[in-house]
């Protein structure tokens, strides 16, 4: 399906939905129109819960507060300043502005570097509690527990409110749908799947989360504004924790990560609540609660996928599905003139000066001092616990080391987070293959290119330009023939190769590789070795390699650094290291008598890196 056809199909469905909304008041009774107007607005807020939770992985209990922001802005302005068209605009501006301000504060608190998913949820849980208490204590200004009512509002018929709410819902749903299916929207899933890898691909995930959070806050505030205009009453419950969790319940029931599921979940449950709550209020709540627990435990994807999969499965029994679809992305080599990697700065590609790393009272690295030039392939060797991986971490993340300085391409990395180190030219491949498991090979590579090729907010790119080095890895390992394979189906060796090409797609100047050949077969190892030599010699990368296999090290390195108990004990050519008695002692384990006491009089206990 071409890009144009895909987008026109989405727009056609949206138009059909708009037609259904338009027909609504003519086929439904007055009571239903009245109730559904509210449900349509709630559904728009549930949509924002799905964007945050289902796609980005941020479980939020506080979206009710943004709805209340919009609603109270309208209520307060219309109560205290009278209703007029200019005041209506002012209220909308205040509502959205207030929501954005609150979202910015919450985002700053909840999405700082190193904040856990649980902490973000905790903040969104505290938010509605604080908001309701503030509304309660607002006296006559906010109307305290009874809220505000009896204010003037837009003079619209009930049908018009229904159409307005419905069109708003269709519009935000369509836009959200186009966004999450676009190249930019895929970043949300990537962050949910593997935030660490995203950061080490140079993406500022905190910023991304805050931006999505702000957009969701604005949507919620507009929905709340329309709600206040139509209901002409606002109450503190709108900002409450209970409403916040109800939104989560609707999202979970409908199906997180489906957009349409939460919309229908909210519409159906809220509408039915209004119908049944009068007669059986507690039984109805009990049914919803039970259903919610059941869905969370047994159908975590929600009910919409279950409903949709059943007919698809039946069809599948009748008509076997076609083999995997052809690759939707074509690869091409980036013109070397267009490469955007960091310009090599002055001096060595990597300069590590007097780096120390301590965990509490434990010193894991001490006095690490070396330089590496572009085109050098430096191997870091040493027994387990020598501090090799820790040193890699210190180079790729400015916040890691306890003391000392690290220059990459002539720039000091300071205390910069991983994504800023990537911007300076660092590329880090992890010890365990670290890719986006649910995304395809092509999608993983696209995300690695986001830093250089800004993704579209509404389209999917049909071609992907990769730097020569990444293309070379793909071609050598045959990954270029598996572009539409999901990463979790790849073999261990293929995953390693995929991660290597993702890192190379960053166009790094300094490549950090942590045991890139661990668990690979002899042939795969030879392939990787050849690639590394070429990267260093032809592309002029500075490669720093942690490796246990000394034969492999001997074959490919131009220089070897031996680490032992957190110190550099030898820095020289391959021949120096092979001839060294010291290294034999270190590896034979008798090093404790020979070196440790000599170089580190008070050798600290080792800690596994």
């Amino acid at each position: 399906m071409t890009e144009a056809r895909r987008l026109s199909l989405i727009l056609a469905v949206a138009l059909a939905a708009l037609a259904a909304i338009f027909a609504g008041p003519y086929v439904l009774d007055t009571y239903s129109v009245n109730v559904l107007t509210r449900s349509l607005l709630y559904a728009a807020v549930a949509l924002t819960v799905d964007l945050l939770w289902g796609f980005l992985g941020v479980l939020t209990f506080g979206q009710s507060v943004f709805f209340a922001c919009g609603a109270y802005a309208a209520g307060l302005v219309f109560t205290h300043m009278d209703f007029s068209p200019s005041n209506a605009l002012l209220a909308l501006g205040l509502g959205v502005g207030g929501a954005l301000l609150v979202a910015a504060i919450v985002g700053w608190l909840a999405f700082w570097h190193g904040a856990s998913a649980l902490y973000a949820s905790v903040i969104t849980l505290v938010l509605p509690i604080v908001a309701t208490q503030l509304l309660y204590s607002g006296g006559t200004f906010t109307g305290s527990s009874s809220g505000l009512s009896g204010f003037m509002s837009f003079d619209l018929s009930m049908e018009a409110w229904f159409w307005l709410s419905g069109s708003f819902l269709v519009a935000v749903t369509t836009l959200a749908y186009i966004f999450v299916k676009s190249d930019a929207g895929r970043l949300l899933v990537a962050v949910r799947e593997n935030e660490q890898r995203c950061k080490y691909l140079g993406l500022d995930t905190s910023r991304l989360k805050i931006l999505v959070f702000l957009a969701c806050a604005a949507i919620g505030a507009i929905a709340g504004y329309i709600y206040a205009g139509y209901a002409m009453v606002v109450a503190p419950e709108l900002a409450g924790f209970v409403f916040g969790t109800e939104l989560v319940i609707w999202t979970a029931l409908g199906g997180r990560g489906t957009l349409l599921g939460p919309v229908f979940g909210a519409l159906i449950v809220d509408y039915e609540s209004a119908q049944l709550a009068g007669d059986y209020p507690f039984v109805w709540q009990l049914i919803i609660g039970t259903l919610f627990v059941l869905v969370i435990v047994a159908f975590p994807r929600g009910l919409l996928p279950v409903v949709f999969d059943a007919p698809r499965k039946l069809l599948g029994l009748l008509r076997p599905r076609a083999a995997t679809p052809a690759a939707s992305v074509t690869l091409s080599t980036l013109d070397p003139a267009d490469t955007q990697g960091v310009e090599p700065g002055e001096g060595p590609a990597l300069a590590v000066a007097d780096v120390v790393k301590r965990f509490g009272s434990l010193t894991v690295l001490e006095g690490i001092d070396f330089e590496a030039r572009a085109g050098e392939l430096v191997s870091l060797v040493g027994p387990n616990g020598a501090g090799k991986t820790t040193l890699m971490r210190c180079i790729a993340d400015g916040a890691e080391r306890s003391a000392g300085s690290i220059m990459v391409n002539g720039y000091d990395i300071g205390r910069k987070p991983p994504e800023a180190c990537v911007a300076l030219g660092v590329g880090r491949k992890f010890q365990m293959a670290n890719v986006f498991e649910t995304l395809t090979v092509a999608q993983c590579l696209q995300i690695a290119r986001v830093r250089h090729a800004r993704p579209s907010l509404w389209r999917r790119a049909a071609d992907l330009k990769l730097p020569e080095a990444a293309m070379h890895v793909l071609a050598t390992t045959g990954l270029d023939r598996q572009l539409s394979t999901p990463a979790h189906l790849l073999s261990h060796g293929m995953k390693q190769a995929l991660e290597l090409s993702m890192v190379l797609a960053l166009e790094p100047r300094v490549l950090l590789l942590d045991e890139p050949t661990a668990g690979l077969t002899k042939t795969e190892r030879m392939q990787i070795g050849a690639i590394l030599i070429e990267l260093a010699r032809k592309q002029g990368l500075c490669v720093l390699l942690v490796e246990h296999d000394l034969d492999f090290v001997r074959e490919i390195s131009s220089r070897v650094i031996v680490l032992h108990q957190g110190r550099i004990v030898l820095d020289g050519s391959v021949e120096d290291v092979v001839a060294s008695e010291l290294v034999k002692q270190v590896y034979a384990g008798s090093g404790h008598a020979g070196i440790a006491h000599e170089t580190a009089p008070s050798a600290p206990k080792e800690m596994p890196a």
Binding site: L118, I123, V130, Q133, V293, I296
Partner: protein, 278 residues
């Protein structure tokens, strides 16, 4: 001054009694049990039934523990066990259980606010100040709970295995510890403690089907800043509970109600480990 100090001590004691069960479950299972509030409500109604039946009000405590424990067993087996690998989902599922417990209680007892009989009435003279006897008794009860739990964790084989699971579950399992059983017993004990907490707070306030919810959030925040240690929980209860009392008396009760949640959020922002040591 003395009245205020007593307020702080007794508030901390109540918070401690309410949060221990949640802390135990969080420490061992890394799961936030949002059914804690519902289980407290259950304990509160167990106390109501006990006193309405004309039994000694002190009996409400073991009966509430029984109710909470039995409910906890069922919850662990059917809801929490499948969710060990999905901690955020476990929060949601246990919140759903809280709704279920609340609605079942509403169906059985109605929505209204009811009052239980207090096991201790009147006041005690302490440092020249006459103070609620029951609130003072709660300090003793909380101390007994804390000491008993510490003794259980430090002095018994089950406690040793539990601490092993807290530190490194995979290793513990490799050493032949039945971590599934440890989790089951922990959740049961945590739920029983929630029931006890519900019974303990009912004489102070009233009983209604959503009585546990306001306590849940405070207990949850206290547990998050305490990590998995009973000692740091005590510290958190005194500091944050104390702040709550001070804000409520000197500024406004509304702000006092927010103190624990807001302070805990800020503490966690500045120091993600909270009051826990490394």
């Amino acid at each position: 001054m003395i009245a205020q100090s007593l307020d702080i001590v007794t508030t901390a004691a109540i918070l401690y009694a309410v949060a221990t069960g949640l802390l135990l479950v969080f420490g061992v299972m890394k799961i936030i049990n949002f059914a804690h509030g519902g289980l407290m409500t259950l304990g509160g109604y167990a106390a109501l039934v006990t006193t309405q039946a004309g039994l000694n009000p002190w009996l409400a405590i073991p009966i509430a523990a029984l109710f909470g424990g039995v409910a906890g067993m069922a919850i662990e087996r059917f809801v929490v066990r499948p969710l060990y690998s999905r901690p955020l989902d476990a929060i949601l599922a246990t919140w759903g259980l809280s709704i279920i417990i609340g609605q079942l209680i509403t169906l059985a007892f109605g929505r209204g606010v009811q009052f239980t009989q207090s096991p201790l009435n009147g006041t005690l003279d302490l440092f020249g100040e006459s103070y609620s006897a029951y609130r003072l008794a709660l300090v003793g009860i909380a101390a007994v709970l804390g000491l008993a739990l510490t003794a259980l964790l430090q002095g018994t084989r089950l406690g040793l295995e539990t601490r092993a699971v807290i530190m490194n579950e995979d290793l513990a399992r490799g050493l032949g510890i039945n971590s599934g059983l440890v989790r089951f017993l922990t959740f049961t004990l945590g739920s029983a403690l929630a029931g006890v907490a519900g019974a303990l707070i009912t004489p102070l306030s009233s009983v209604d089907p959503s009585m546990g919810v306001p306590w849940l959030v405070n207990a949850f925040m206290l547990v998050l800043v305490s990590g998995a240690s009973l000692l740091s929980l005590l510290f958190a209860c005194v500091v944050l509970g104390g702040a709550q009392v001070l804000v409520a008396t000197h500024f406004s009760p509304v702000l006092g109600g927010l103190t624990i949640a807001v302070l805990a959020a800020i503490i966690l922002r500045v120091r993600p480990k909270g009051f826990a040591r490394d």
